[in-house]
Each structure stands twice: as C-alpha cells, then as structure tokens.
C-alpha cells in the first residue's frame, strides 16, 4: 500500500489554557489524492485538528501534545509552520478575512512574494494559476468588488500557487448562498482532479458537502474520532443523530417512510441513491397518510410595503416596485442572493436608508416621517454578528442601553430589563460580563437589548450564520418561543433549512424586485425561483420526483410538519 501523505498516530493535544485535552488519541491516515470530510458539532475538536494539520498548533496556539503527526513521512514536530505550508494549503472559513492583497493578483501572489520569487516569474505564475481557477479576468479587481464565489476562487488560487499535497478547507460553505456553495464543492472537486492533491473538507453541513463524491467521512465527537467510514456506510448508521449533525433530508424522509437504508443503495447522494419499487411505494404511502397543517392565515397585516423604490444615487435602482407584507404574529423569511436587495429592504424599513418612493405602513401608521429611533420602538433590527452591537461590559447595562438613552426612569428600566432577561433565558447571567458568554448567548443578549424596547416586530440578519446544528436549533427555538409570545419575526437568510423549518412563508428578492411570495416548501421545490435566487432544490424535491409524487412542495411541507411533531 502507498505511503500515507498525512498520518496521525495516537495524537492527543491540550491547549495551555485548558484543563482537559481538546483532542484525544487521534489516529487516522490519508493517502495521496484522497478526499475526506471531517464533520462534527461545534467544540468537537475539528478546528483544533485542522490547526494541528496546518501548523497553527503549536505555532500560534500553544499546548501540550503526545503522539505524532507525519506529513509525507516527516514528523511535523521538526517542521516550522512555513515548512508545513509548502505541503498543506489552507482555505480559511472567512474569505474576506483572509484576503491580504489590495487586488486579486497581489493576493494570489502573496505566498510567492514571501518566497522571494522574482517579479517576472511572479506575474507569470499568478496568471497561470488564475486561469486554473478561472479568475484571470479579475486580476486588477479589489476584494470588495468580487462576489462570494469569486472570493473563494481567489483564496483557492492563493494556495494553489504552491504545489501543495494537501488542500484543507475550513467550512467552505459557511458564508455562501446555497447555489454558490454547490458551485464551490464542484470547484474543489475539479481542482482535486487536476492537481491530484489530497483534500480535507471540515464542514458540518454534510448533505451539501456530499454534493460531489468523497472517499471517507470522519465524524468527530468530544475530541475523539467517533467514526471513520465510507459515506454509503456511514449514512446507514444512526451516528449522525447521536452526535448532533444534521442528516441529509432525503435520508430522514426515507427513514420516516420505513425504508431500510443499506450501503448497496448508494445513499451518499440523492443522485446516486437507488430505490426499489417497494421503497418508492413506501414513500408514496407515507405521503398519502400524512396530514398537512392548514396554513391559511387570516391574521391582519402588521407591515405593508407599497411600491417601494430605492437607489443610492439617482442611477441604479436597488429596489424597484417592491410590494410586500408581513402579517401580525408571523415568522417569515426574506431570501435572495447577495445584492438582490433583501438587506436594503430591511434597512429602508428600519429607516437606515430613506426610500425614494413608496409607502411603508406599520400597524396602520405611515412610517415615512419617523426617525430611525422612532421606528426602532416598533421594529427592532438585530445585526448578524453580535460583536457588532455589544458596547457594554455587563449584560444588564447592555440590555438597558436603549432604555437609558430614551430617558426611561431608573426603576422602570430595572423591571423591564429583568423581565426581558427572564424571557431570553439570561436571568442567571445578569451580573456576568458579556465576554464570558458563548456566541449563542451573546446573540441572545443582542436580541434582548432590542426586545427591551418592546417592538412588535424584529428583523434579524442571518440569525444562525456559521452555527452548527445544535446552536442553530437553540437560536431558532428561542426565536420560535418569542414568536409564540406574539412578536412578529422576519429573518434575512441564505439558509434553506431555516426557511423550510422555521419560516412558513418566504419572500424572494432578485435584482431589486420581489419575484416570489409563497410558502417556503413551495419555493424550495420551484426550479425557476430557485435559479433566480441562487437557492438550491431541497433533496426532498428530488425524492418526490423519484417517487412520482405530483406535488413536491406539498410533500416537503408534510415532511416538515411531521418532523416538528416527532421532535416534540
């Protein structure tokens, strides 16, 4: 057998600041040209494992280790982070953050510059690598002129300039819309085929990462390798549910229908899976026997937007002729590609930008003459990253801020803040510094600091971005609880699962217009809308087609309703 390119042997690692090891007794190996996914919930040690591979542990993050890691037969103990970077190329999660050059060309050239490659050669190599990832028309562009997919290509080019043997991807899907994510997986696959490098993808969105074939999946849990298996075998086990990783939806759907999943069915992808007639019959009969919640919604409108137009300068319209509404007590999603207008739409509603034309009516009142502050009493806006909002040291002060600036009497502030903290499950932390909280808890603090102003409606920008399944569920169930208390919730999102599971209805933006307003289940089974909005069909759609179910949207809806009931 061929010598493995990367080998872990009984590797244990403990950060200096931690009481317990983060990684326990890790052993596995990867051969040249292999492609694997490392998957696991937040805190399972997958990021640490990745840092051990690329050398950031122990170079930037110090700690104690036992056991060994070898790259191409060499023990990494005797290699510097720079030696390792010649063999291992890492694409970090945040494409924006790792862009170090002022232009695409400079960013690609970065590693070569550090190797003191002569200028003429630099230009040549940059050109050829840019061609490889098909970004050569953008060499003089600045990072903020690029789309998410293009940035990803630049990041990839930046590590491909070195002839690396291992390509390491840290959550490549985290900041991309579904269609771009799909494309990214295809790109990784292509590059792997042309370069022959081993590929390691660290990702918790298993279904999306499996869009192209992989050789193995390693599931990590609590610092250990829980499973190391071929995808077809892994998907027949119950390990995913046990470790809190989301199972591909079609697999769950088949299980609900009572289909026995075996490796022979090739279940690793909806495109490869083979269903017998018997299996299909089971799916159809599950569909016919399931019930659908009546979703006709007779509640009155809380927010009505009529003929809304907006442009930054007089020329290009960012929003045109937008008509949309949100019902009282609704929980809905606003979706669309980057630049489609969904964020601008929310900003205009909150008064951050002034509409050029059109009316916004909230609870019967015209909002036109209301200032940002006045609108905020009615509609709260929660930014994506909680660090963008937190300005106080203590939780109580942070939540109280909006009331203090409004000159509310002190004792009233106290009761209102305490009330809000209880609703948000932060009561026991009220005297804690914010820095001691987890990401999800910080998110709650920012939501609490908005809720304390008692808005009727809140708008959240990507509430679950970058969160694993468990944290996602935690945040979303919290929002659902708020919604049940009567607060209307609108969420700007790329996340199709979020749409399906938590938003009955979605509004789809494309090129500044609302192109669709329908149930999320219908939207995610409508190929035309999916294409225009850079979404992706849910695999439930493909499954429904495969089983000749006439109304895939209806099938998806029943699946979601059923799942809600089972989970309860």
């Amino acid at each position: 057998m061929e010598e493995p390119i990367l080998k872990f042997e009984n590797f244990t690692f403990q950060y200096n600041a931690q009481k317990k090891p983060t990684l326990y007794d890790i052993s596995f190996s990867i051969r040249k040209g292999e492609k694997i996914i490392i998957c696991g919930p937040s805190g399972c040690g997958k990021s640490t494992l990745m840092h051990c591979i690329n050398g950031l542990v122990p170079h930037s993050y110090k700690g104690e280790k036992t056991g060994s890691i070898t790259i191409s037969g060499k023990n990494t103990q005797n290699m510097s982070i720079f030696d390792i970077s010649k063999s291992v190329g890492t694409v970090l999660q945040d494409c924006d953050g790792q862009f170090v050059g002022l232009t695409v060309a400079e960013d690609i050239a970065f590693a070569l510059e550090n190797d003191c490659v002569e200028v003429d050669q630099l230009h040549e190599r940059v050109k050829s690598v840019a061609k490889l990832v098909n970004i050569d028309d953008y060499l003089t562009h600045a990072p903020n002129e690029l789309s998410g997919g293009q940035k990803q290509r630049v990041s990839l080019a930046g590590i491909l300039v070195d002839d690396v043997d291992i390509l390491l991807f840290d959550e490549p899907l985290a900041n991309l819309d579904p269609a771009t994510g799909k494309y990214a997986i295809e790109l990784i696959d292509e590059i792997q085929k042309t370069t022959g490098a081993a590929v390691i993808i660290v990702e918790h969105r298993l279904e999306d990462a499996l869009h192209r074939n992989v050789d193995r999946i390693i599931i990590m849990n609590e610092g250990r390798i829980a499973v190391d298996a071929k995808p077809d075998e892994l998907l027949c086990q119950d390990i995913l549910k046990e470790t809190g990783i989301r199972e591909p939806l079609y697999i769950t759907a088949l299980k609900y229908a009572g289909v026995d999943i075996t490796p022979q069915m090739k279940p690793s992808s909806i495109r490869s899976i083979v269903l017998s007639d018997e299996d299909k019959r089971k799916v159809v009969s599950w569909y016919e026997n399931s019930t659908k919640e009546d979703i006709e919604d007779k509640r009155p409108y809380l927010l009505e937007v009529k003929d809304l137009e907006f442009s930054y300068d007089k020329k290009a319209k960012v929003l045109q002729g937008v008509n949309a509404n949100v019902k009282e007590g609704e929980m809905m999603a606003i979706v669309g590609t980057n630049g489609a207008g969904k964020s601008t739409f929310s900003k205009v509603i909150c008064g951050f930008e002034k509409e050029t034309e059109g009316t916004i009516i909230f609870n019967g009142e015209n909002l036109s003459d209301y200032s940002i502050k006045e609108r905020a009493d009615k509609i709260g806006y929660v930014m994506q990253n909680p660090n963008q909002m937190i300005s106080k040291v203590m939780i109580f002060d942070e939540v109280a801020l909006g009331l203090v600036t409004r000159g509310v009497p002190e004792d009233e502030i106290k009761t209102r803040v305490e009330e809000t903290l209880k609703v948000c499950g932060l009561w026991q932390f009220r005297n804690w510094p914010i820095s001691a909280l987890s990401y999800g808890q910080k998110k709650r603090v920012t939501i609490a600091s908005i809720l304390v102003l008692e808005p009727k409606m809140i708008i959240l920008d990507e509430p679950t971005a970058g969160q694993d399944y468990r944290h996602y569920t935690e945040i979303m169930e919290f929002l659902l609880k708020l919604n049940k208390k009567g607060i209307t919730v609108a969420m700007i999102t790329h996340d199709m699962h979020l749409m399906l599971e938590y938003a009955k209805r979605s509004i789809v933006f494309s090129k500044g217009k609302v192109i669709c307003d329908d149930t999320s289940a219908n939207i995610l089974t409508n190929p035309e809308v999916i294409k225009a909005a850079n979404l992706k069909e849910t695999s439930l759609y493909d499954l429904a087609l495969m089983c000749n179910i006439e109304n895939p949207g209806d099938y998806a809806q029943r699946f979601i309703d059923y799942e809600r009931e089972v989970e309860r």
Partner: protein
C-alpha cells in the same frame, strides 16, 4: 466615499516612476522647500509642480476637495500669524516700512512680504504631496518603503491598513445605524458630550469585531509564509530605471540650491529691503 489615499490610475510618466523614487523625491523636495524662505526658489517650485501635474494627467477636480480644505486652513493660519505677531516681518528683515495705520497692528511691507513667503512655502509643498498620493499605487508604495530600507513587516502593514479602510468604513456605517436605532443620537440634535459618548458605543463594537479580523488575517498570512525569510519580493514592485535616478538627482539638486541660497543670503530669508 472619500478615500484617504486616493490613488488615481492614469497612464503617465510620473505614474511609471517607481514608488521609491517618488517617495525620495517627495522628501528631498519638501526639505528644499522647508529649509528656505528664499522667494525666488519658492516661486520656482510651484511653477515646476504645476508643470509636473500637467505631465501626470491628474485633473484639478480630482484633488479639488482636499485642496480647498488645505487652502482654507492656510488662510486661517496666515490670519492667525498676523493677529499674534503683526511685526514678525520687521524682526526678520530688520527694517520697518509702514504702509497703513499705526500702532500695534500697523501694516508693514516686511510683514506682507513675510506672509507672501510663508504662503509660497505651502504652495510649493502641497501640490507635490498631492501628486505623490494620487500617482502612487499603495501596494507599490509599500514595496518601495521596503526597498529604501523599511522592514517589510512594517511596509506591509501600511498596505494592509489601506486594504481594510473600505471594510472598516462600511462596518462603521452599519454599526452606527444599528446603534442609532437603539437610541444613540449621533446627529446635531445631541450635545457634543452625548455625541462623544455615542461614538464610544460605535467604536467599541468596531474595535472588538476588528480584533477578531486581525487574528484571522494574521493566521492567514502566516499560513502563506509571511515572515519566513528576511526579505520578500513584491508583485507590484518596479525596477529602478535610469529615469528614476535622473529624477532623484534633479530633486537632490533642488535641495542643494536651497542650501546654497541659505549660505549666500546669510540666513534662511531672502531680504530685498537692504
């Protein structure tokens, strides 16, 4: 959005000079203009710089905003000088020729001449600084700093700071809006103290989220070999050509002229009154 470092791409011989050349020339030119009050040289310098602007194809309107700003500042400055020291010219030139009025604020020829020289000094330096800023690509500037002996880690942080200016601006704007929604008044309605307090509510989140970014970017740079060698090359670096040496020598001559004039005049001032 007005950018601090407003590089304007144009095909011109000045753009084609290496950044290091332009930087050295800028320093030499400024020393020459700073060290002298000789009116003849101070008149020659702005004329040369207007000529250089023509060559660079940078239009007046490209720099008009910053230019107006500086001119207003200059005007205020000369008025202040007159208010605080109305007879500075007399002290400098040793004679006193009153044209208008009497007493403390009497206007003298010497004072006027001093103001003229003072203003000329500004006018000889400002255009050349603007020319440098508008014709030097920031990355190339970093490369040239490195070339003239500045450590590349420092030179690169200059380039990196420029790379992040638009990002930080955008984020500042977003945070500011979200905080205004929570009632932090940043408009003119609020008192200065309240606005300063409000600014902290925006700056703290901005700094915190920038700290996260710094960790990411420093990891990203190390993973791609930044800091491995004592030297590095620069994609945007330009080789020195003979024109670069010629320019440096010419600017060096300017400095020499300025120093020689100081010697000949016996002081930094050219004195037509004796």
């Amino acid at each position: 959005m007005t950018n601090l470092f407003n590089y304007i791409e144009k095909p011109s011989p000045i753009h084609n000079l290496s950044g290091a050349t332009k930087f050295i020339c800028l320093l030499l030119w400024s020393f020459a203009a700073m060290s002298t009050y000789d009116t003849r040289l101070l008149i020659a310098l702005p004329i040369i710089s207007i000529f250089l602007f023509k060559i660079s194809r940078i239009k007046l309107k490209d720099v008009s905003f910053i230019l107006t700003f500086i001119l207003v500042f200059l005007l205020l400055n000369t008025i202040m000088i007159y208010i605080f020291s109305p007879h500075h010219g007399t002290e400098v030139y040793g004679t006193c020729t009153v044209i208008l009025g009497s007493g403390k604020y009497s206007l003298t020829k010497e004072q006027l001449f001093y103001h003229l020289n003072y203003t000329l000094k500004y006018i000889s330096t400002i255009p050349i600084v603007l020319l440098f800023v508008t014709t030097t690509n920031p990355s190339e500037f970093a490369a040239s700093l490195n070339k003239i002996g500045v450590k590349y880690s420092i030179a690169y942080s200059v380039a990196l700071a420029l790379r992040y200016i638009p990002d930080v601006q955008r984020e500042y704007h977003e945070i500011s809006l979200a905080q205004q929604a929570r009632g932090i008044e940043m408009s003119k309605k609020a008192s200065l103290v309240n606005r300063l307090k409000g600014a902290s509510a925006i700056l703290i989140p901005l700094i915190l989220s920038s700290m996260d970014k710094i960790e990411i970017v420093s990891n990203a740079m190390e993973l791609r070999g930044f800091g491995k060698n004592k030297k590095r090359t620069w994609y945007m670096g330009r080789k020195f050509r003979s024109i670069d040496y010629i320019c440096i020598v010419l600017c060096l001559l300017l400095l020499v002229v300025s120093i020689v004039l100081t010697k000949v005049n016996g002081s930094r001032f050219y004195n037509p009154f004796v």
